[in-house]
Symmetry: C2
Subunit: 232 residues, 2 copies
């Protein structure tokens, strides 16, 4: 029975543990430490090097970075099965990156020396990690391109569809995004202000394309929004 088996099952579906036998996965998990996180709990702050560098999890966390003048930029949202490898693994630098739980989450964390040992012993893990980081790089490049070429409305539309893909749940009459997202969260993700996001969303709500209530967003007319996101 028990949660432990569940964990392993969850891990075996993760990209990081692809092509690894269960006993090896188990060994790797046992090297790290499993931590539950309450909503809004901060896993690490400003890349705190005393804390852990690497992790896999259940739940959703927000990875963000704060500029010198206090503006917060969201690098990405991390969903179940994902992994985050900080540059800090390889170099021993510190980074102003902060990870915060958006909802009740569980993470498994390894520190620098642990993860290096794992990568030495299980080359497959390194290859999988490379694959994951390449995917993150690709995602970042696409968002960079969107930020360069598209205007706010399109970027909001793309963001909604992105969340539908990663955290969308079919509902009675629409698709519900399963993460509590404020206007500010969306704004920080696409590099605009919460005011502009608010204007866009209320416009779409008036048109009946979506519905928002207490941080939940329900997409009623996905086609309309997709159409918008692809507009040239």
């Amino acid at each position: 029975m028990n949660t432990h088996d569940h964990m392993i099952d969850n891990f075996s579906k993760s990209e990081l543990f692809k092509n690894l036998p269960a006993d090896q996965i188990n060994e790797i998990i046992c090297i790290g430490s499993t931590q539950p996180l309450k909503p809004k709990a901060i896993l690490f702050y400003q890349g705190d090097p005393a804390k852990n560098y690497f992790w896999v999890k259940q739940g959703t966390l927000k990875l963000s970075q704060v500029t010198e003048d206090g503006k917060e930029i969201t690098l990405r949202y991390i969903s179940p099965g994902d992994m985050t490898a900080a540059l800090a693994i390889m170099k021993q630098k510190e980074y102003p990156v902060t990870a915060q739980a958006m909802e009740p989450s569980t993470v498994v964390a390894w520190n620098r020396s642990q993860i290096l040992k794992i990568m030495e012993k299980f080359p497959r893990v390194t290859i999988n990690a490379l694959s994951i980081v390449l995917e993150q790089l690709d995602d970042m490049q696409i968002r960079y391109m969107e930020l360069c070429t598209q205007q706010v409305e399109q970027r909001v539309a793309r963001t909604l569809m992105r969340f539908v893909r990663t955290s969308g749940k079919k509902n009675n009459n629409g698709i519900c995004i399963d993460i509590p997202l404020s206007r500010k969260d969306i704004a920080e993700y696409i590099g605009t202000t919460l005011f502009t996001v608010s204007r866009v969303l209320s416009m779409w709500e008036k048109k009946g394309w979506l519905k928002t209530s207490k941080g939940q967003i329900i997409i009623l007319e996905p086609h309309k929004i997709v159409e918008f996101s692809e507009e040239i």
Copy 2:
């Protein structure tokens, strides 16, 4: 003597081959194919899967991506010793990414199956590749943040200093950026138009902070530009 020894020497300084003995580096290089590229030559176009996926090189190449509506965005410039790993290594997708030589360059390319074989046989290479890709991701995240929070003048200043770091050569009275960069090149790197870049650069040229002639940019007053780039 000879070019071959030079190649090895160059490679051993590269992040990708860190902690590898010379004979293994040699073996890895021999698996791939070494190609000379003339300026403006295109190494691969739109992620052409028939071509090679991975490479290390001498010279400078521009990695860019074209949007559906024809706007070209520069993902990054790749300098000697750098590596580019396309997502295509792991997945077998195609991407609209194009690599073009900015000056006479030499690259070593491996195809998908070759690089996978190398990573299996030399786990150290995989770890090094992970380190490189993490660095690229970090760079992209920083540029994303800059694009979100800074305005054009600051981004131009930061870009100049970035190029000074990677390709700056001390000159009689200033620092010369060793890559031919047009206003359009800079604009596509920071997500603006060549007009705006032109305005900024002519302003600084009038102030005597830099000098431009036939694609060459010479920084005369680095302090002034750094100051500008750090402005809050």
